[in-house]
C-alpha cells in the first residue's frame, strides 16, 4: 500500500502551454493529477461523463459550473472519498503520482494521507486547536516534533497569530472563518501533495472569504490546489487554470483562467460566465 504514493511525480508529461497568469515567470508545470475517460455513476444516474483532464502541479485549478454538474463528485474521485457512498460507481482512470488511484493495490487510506481536503462547512473536531492540527500527524504516527509542525501549519494557514495563546482551547470556539483556516491547517499539517477544497468559502462572510482566498494563493507555492467554487469572481481572482463543468457532468472547457473568462471557445461557457444561464 505504501508503494503507491511513495514515488511522487516522476515521469509525467509536461503541460505544453505556458500558464499565463500574473506570475508568468513560472516554469511549465508538471501534471499532478490527471483523469482519463472518467465516468461516475450514482446508481443509474451519470454524474460525470467522460472527463479527461490534466491538472498542473503547484498551481490553483478552479472547477466551476452550475449545481449538480459533477464538480464536487470529480473532486471526491481524486482522494476516493466517493468510496464511502455505496451506490457510487467509478469507471476510467484517475492518476496521481503516476499511478491510477483506482487500481486494486491502492489503499484509499494511504492515498488520502497524501491528499488534504477542506470541506464546504468548516468541520473542526471537538478537540483543542492543537489536537485538531496534530490529528493527521497522530494517525499517521508522525515521530518528529509535533508542536513545531502544528505551529508551522497554523502559520501557513495564517491563523497562528490569532490563536497562539489559546492552542489548548476548543477548535469550536473559533469564528467560522477561523474554523475554516483551522481546517486548512489540519489538512496541510501532514504535508500532503495536493489540497482539495470543496467550496471552502461558501459558508463564510466576505471578509473571512477574502482571507481564505489570500491564503490559497500562498498555498499554491507549496501545494497543488484544486478548488470547487460557485463564485465566478473568486475563480477568476485566485486560479491559474479553470475547468468549466456543465450539466450532465461534462467537462466543457478547460484552459488558463484569463482565457476562460475573457475569450472562451464555447458559447455555453460564455453564457454561463456572464450569467445568462446556470
Amino acid at each position: 500500500m505504501s508503494n503507491t504514493s511513495s514515488d511522487t511525480t516522476g515521469d509525467e508529461s509536461l503541460i505544453t502551454t505556458e500558464v499565463e497568469t500574473g506570475s508568468t515567470q513560472r516554469t511549465p508545470a508538471r501534471t499532478a493529477v490527471a483523469a482519463r475517460d472518467l465516468n461516475v455513476y450514482y446508481g443509474d444516474e451519470q454524474a460525470i461523463d467522460d472527463v479527461t483532464i490534466e491538472i498542473p502541479e503547484k498551481r490553483v485549478t478552479a472547477l466551476i459550473g452550475p449545481s449538480g454538474c459533477g464538480k464536487s463528485t470529480f473532486l471526491r474521485c481524486i482522494n476516493r472519498m466517493n468510496d464511502m457512498i455505496e451506490v457510487c460507481r467509478v469507471e476510467g482512470d484517475v492518476e496521481f503520482g503516476g499511478k491510477n488511484v483506482y487500481d486494486d493495490d491502492v489503499d484509499p487510506v494511504a492515498l488520502r494521507r497524501k491528499i488534504g481536503m477542506v470541506f464546504q462547512k468548516p468541520n473542526p473536531f471537538p478537540k483543542s486547536i492543537r489536537d485538531n492540527v496534530a490529528y493527521g500527524l497522530k494517525i499517521q504516527g508522525y515521530d518528529g516534533d509535533v508542536d513545531e509542525r502544528v505551529e508551522e501549519s497554523l502559520k501557513a494557514a495564517a491563523l497562528y497569530e490569532e490563536v497562539k495563546d489559546q492552542l489548548d482551547s476548543s477548535g469550536l470556539d473559533l469564528s467560522g472563518g477561523q474554523q475554516q483556516r483551522l481546517c486548512i491547517a489540519r489538512a496541510i499539517a501532514p504535508d500532503p501533495e495536493v489540497v482539495l477544497m470543496d467550496e471552502p468559502t461558501s459558508a463564510l462572510d466576505p471578509v473571512a472569504a477574502s482571507k481564505i482566498e489570500d491564503l490559497i494563493d500562498d498555498l499554491a507555492e507549496q501545494y497543488t490546489v484544486i478548488i470547487v467554487t460557485h463564485n465566478m469572481q473568486q475563480a477568476a481572482r485566485i486560479s491559474d487554470r479553470t475547468a468549466v463543468f456543465l450539466t450532465g457532468g461534462r467537462l466543457v472547457e478547460y484552459d488558463d483562467t484569463p482565457k476562460i473568462f475573457e475569450d472562451p471557445e464555447e458559447q455555453r461557457v460564455e453564457d454561463y460566465i456572464t450569467g445568462k444561464f446556470g
Binding site: M81, A110, N123, G136, K138, I139, S170
Partner: protein, 588 residues
C-alpha cells in the same frame, strides 16, 4: 398597520387554553409524584432510624447540630453551583470510596482464589488470538494470519503459564519478594529511561522485572526471615499508592505539594498502623484503609485548591460528620434517652441474623457492589462494542444490510423481554452449560449484563448516530482508518450520551430481583463473598427475604433500613457515573 382580514378590529387574544391546561396538568402531576415519593421516604426514614420513639430533646439536639447547619449550607451554596458541585462530589465520592474500600479490604484479607486454568486460557490465549485473527483478517493478509497466529499462540501460552504459576505460588511473601526484586527495579529502570531519554534502560526494564520475578519465586524457598505484615504492606502497597498520588500532583502543582500529598496520608497511616498494632487491632488493615482513603482524598483536595472554585463545598461531609458527633456528645452529656435506630454502623458492617436487633446487611452490600461493578464493565464494553460495530462497520444495503436490520430489530425486541426470562437464560447458559455455578457473582453479573445490554446498545447507537457525519468525513479525508475515526472522533463525541444510557440501565440492574432468584442467588448469606465464584446475595434479595419474616420488627424496621441503604448506594453510584459523564462532556 393596515390589515384587511376579518379581525381588523385589533390584535385580540389567540386561544391558548389547551396548552395552559396541559402545562398545569403536567406541573400538578410532577408535584404530586415528588410529594408522594417524599412522603414515602419520610416514612421509611422514620422506621429506619426509629424516630417515632425519639424524645423531643433528642430531636431538638440533632435538629440544631445536623439539620440547621445543613440547611445553612444549602442556603449558602444555593447561588454558587460550583460549591454545590464540589459538595455533591465530595459526599458521593466519599460514599463510593468507602464502599470500594470495604470491598477491597474484603478481597485482600480473604484468601486469594486460585486462578481457574480454563479462565486463564480464555483470557490469555483464546481472546487475544480471536481478536488478532479478526483484526488481521479484516486487512486481508492471509499469510500474516498464519505466522501471527503461531507467534501469539506460543507467546500467549507462555504468558498464561507464567501467570498461572504466579497464582499457584501466590502468597503475600512471594509478592513481597517479587515486588522488591522485580517490580521496583523494573519501574526504576523504566522511569530512569524515560527521564534521561535512555531507551536502552527502558527496554531493559521488562527483562529485569522478569528475572526479578523468577528470583523472588526461588528466594521464597530459601529466605525464612521476613519483616512484619505491617512493613510488607507498607512497602508493597502503601508507598506505591502514595508515590502514584504524588506523581499525579507533581506535574501541576510542583514538588512541595507532591511531597505533602504523598507524605501526609502515608505518615498518618503508618502511625495509625503502629498504634493499631499496639491496641490489638489488625495493623495492616488500618494502614491500608488510611492510605487508600487518604491519598486519593489528598490528591482531590490539592486539585480543588489548585482550581480554586468551590473549596467550601468540600466542607459538607466534614460538616455532616461533625454534626453527628456533636449531637451524640450533647445527647450523651444531657442524658437524653436516644432512640435505637435500625440503620446503624452494625447494620452495614455485620451479617444477617435471626434477631432483628443484630441483623446486618453487610454481605448483601458487598455482593451488590461487586455485581454492579462487574455489570458496569461488562455491559459498557459489550454495549459500546456492539453499537460501534452496528453503526460504523456494517453496510447499509445488500444482504449484510438486511441482516444488520434484522439484528437491530431483535435487539430492540430483547429490551422488552421480562427479566424472569433472562433469569432462565442465565440459569441454563451460565450456571449449567458454562459451569459458573448457581448464584455466584459471575453468573449473576453475566445475567444482569445480558438483561441491560439491549438498553445500553440502543442508547449507545443513538449517541453514535448523533455524531455529525461532517466529522467522520473530515477524519476519513485525513487518511484515518475506520478504527482511527471511530476511536479518535466518534467515540469521544458520543461518550456523554453512551454514559447516560449506561447509567439508566445500571439503575435498573441494581434493583433487579427476579433474575437473581432464577439463577439461584441466595436470599441470605452470612459472610461477604470472598471470590467471584462464591455464593453471595444482593441487597434487593435480602430486603425481599426480610419482608417475608414473621416478626414485625423485620418487616418494618430492618426492611426500612435496607431500603435507605439501597437508595444511598444507588444515589452514590449514579452520582459518580454522572460526574464521569460531565467530565467527558467538559472534555469536549
Amino acid at each position: 398597520m393596515a390589515t384587511d382580514n376579518a379581525n381588523a378590529g385589533g390584535f385580540g387574544e389567540v386561544s391558548r387554553v389547551r396548552g395552559i391546561v396541559f402545562e398545569y396538568l403536567s406541573f400538578g402531576a410532577s408535584v404530586f409524584g415528588l410529594v408522594a415519593l417524599g412522603v414515602l421516604l419520610v416514612y421509611v426514614s422514620i422506621d429506619a432510624f426509629d424516630l417515632a420513639n425519639a424524645s423531643p430533646e433528642w430531636l431538638l439536639t440533632y435538629f440544631l447540630t445536623l439539620v440547621v447547619p445543613f440547611l445553612a449550607f444549602c442556603l449558602y451554596s444555593a447561588n454558587d453551583s460550583e460549591v454545590t458541585r464540589r459538595a455533591l462530589a465530595a459526599l458521593g465520592g466519599g460514599l463510593v470510596a468507602v464502599a470500594a474500600l470495604f470491598t477491597a479490604i474484603e478481597a485482600v484479607v480473604a484468601p486469594i482464589p486460585r486462578l481457574n486454568w480454563q479462565l486463564a486460557y480464555l483470557f490469555v490465549v483464546a481472546a487475544p488470538v480471536a481478536a488478532y485473527l479478526a483484526y488481521v483478517g479484516s486487512r486481508g493478509r492471509v499469510a500474516a494470519v498464519g505466522f501471527g497466529l503461531l507467534g501469539r499462540l506460543v507467546g500467549g501460552a507462555a504468558i498464561g503459564l507464567a501467570v498461572g504459576t504466579l497464582f499457584l505460588v501466590f502468597d503475600e511473601l512471594v509478592w513481597f519478594l517479587a515486588y522488591t526484586f522485580g517490580v521496583v527495579p523494573a519501574a526504576a529502570l523504566y522511569a530512569y529511561g524515560r527521564w534521561r531519554a535512555a531507551d536502552r534502560a527502558a527496554t531493559a526494564a521488562i527483562p529485569v522485572g522478569l528475572v526479578g520475578l523468577v528470583t523472588a519465586v526461588f528466594l521464597r524457598r530459601v529466605v525464612t526471615v521476613y519483616p512484619s505484615d505491617l512493613v510488607i504492606y507498607l512497602w508493597t502497597i502503601a508507598i506505591p499508592v502514595a508515590a502514584v498520588g504524588a506523581f499525579l500532583v507533581v506535574d501541576r502543582s510542583g514538588r512541595t505539594v507532591g511531597i505533602v500529598v504523598a507524605g501526609l496520608p502515608l505518615t498518618v497511616a503508618t502511625a495509625g498502623g503502629f498504634l493499631a498494632a499496639g491496641a490489638g487491632l489488625s495493623a495492616p488493615t488500618v494502614l491500608l484503609v488510611l492510605v487508600l482513603a487518604g491519598v486519593p482524598t489528598a490528591v482531590y483536595v490539592s486539585r480543588v485548591i489548585e482550581v480554586g472554585d468551590g473549596i467550601v463545598g468540600l466542607g459538607l461531609p466534614i460538616l455532616l460528620a461533625a454534626g453527628v458527633a456533636a449531637g451524640a456528645l450533647i445527647v450523651e452529656a444531657w442524658g437524653v434517652p436516644a432512640p435505637d435506630p435500625w440503620l446503624d454502623l452494625g447494620y452495614v458492617t455485620e451479617a444477617p441474623s435471626r434477631t432483628p436487633e443484630e441483623a446486618g446487611l453487610y454481605p448483601a452490600i458487598v455482593g451488590s457492589v461487586i455485581i454492579i461493578a462487574l455489570v458496569a464493565v461488562l455491559s459498557f464494553v459489550l454495549g459500546v462494542g456492539t453499537s460501534v460495530f452496528l453503526e460504523e462497520y456494517t453496510p447499509e444495503s445488500g444482504v449484510l444490510g438486511s441482516l444488520t436490520r434484522l439484528l437491530q430489530i431483535n435487539i430492540a425486541n430483547l429490551a422488552a423481554i421480562p427479566s424472569v426470562v433472562y433469569g432462565l437464560l442465565g440459569l441454563g447458559l451460565f450456571a449449567n452449560l458454562l459451569g459458573f455455578g448457581f448464584g455466584t457473582a459471575v453468573t449473576v453479573a453475566l445475567t444482569l449484563s445480558l438483561l441491560i445490554l439491549p438498553i445500553t446498545i440502543i442508547s449507545a447507537q443513538e449517541a453514535i448516530r448523533s455524531v455529525p457525519d461532517d466529522l467522520r468525513r473530515g477524519s476519513d479525508a485525513m487518511g484515518a482508518t475506520r478504527w482511527q475515526t471511530t476511536k479518535n472522533v466518534v467515540l469521544p463525541e458520543a461518550m456523554p450520551g453512551i454514559f447516560t444510557g449506561t447509567i439508566l440501565a445500571l439503575g435498573r440492574a441494581i434493583g433487579e430481583t427476579a433474575p437473581l432468584i432464577m439463577v439461584g442467588a441466595a436470599t441470605t448469606v452470612f459472610s461477604a463473598p470472598s471470590s467471584l465464584f462464591s455464593r453471595f446475595s444482593a441487597m434487593p434479595m435480602q430486603i425481599y427475604a426480610w419482608a417475608n419474616f414473621p416478626q414485625a420488627d423485620f418487616r418494618y424496621g430492618v426492611v426500612a433500613a435496607g431500603v435507605i441503604t439501597l437508595l444511598v448506594i444507588l444515589i452514590g453510584m449514579n452520582g459518580t457515573a454522572i460526574l464521569l459523564r460531565n467530565r467527558a462532556e467538559r472534555g469536549n
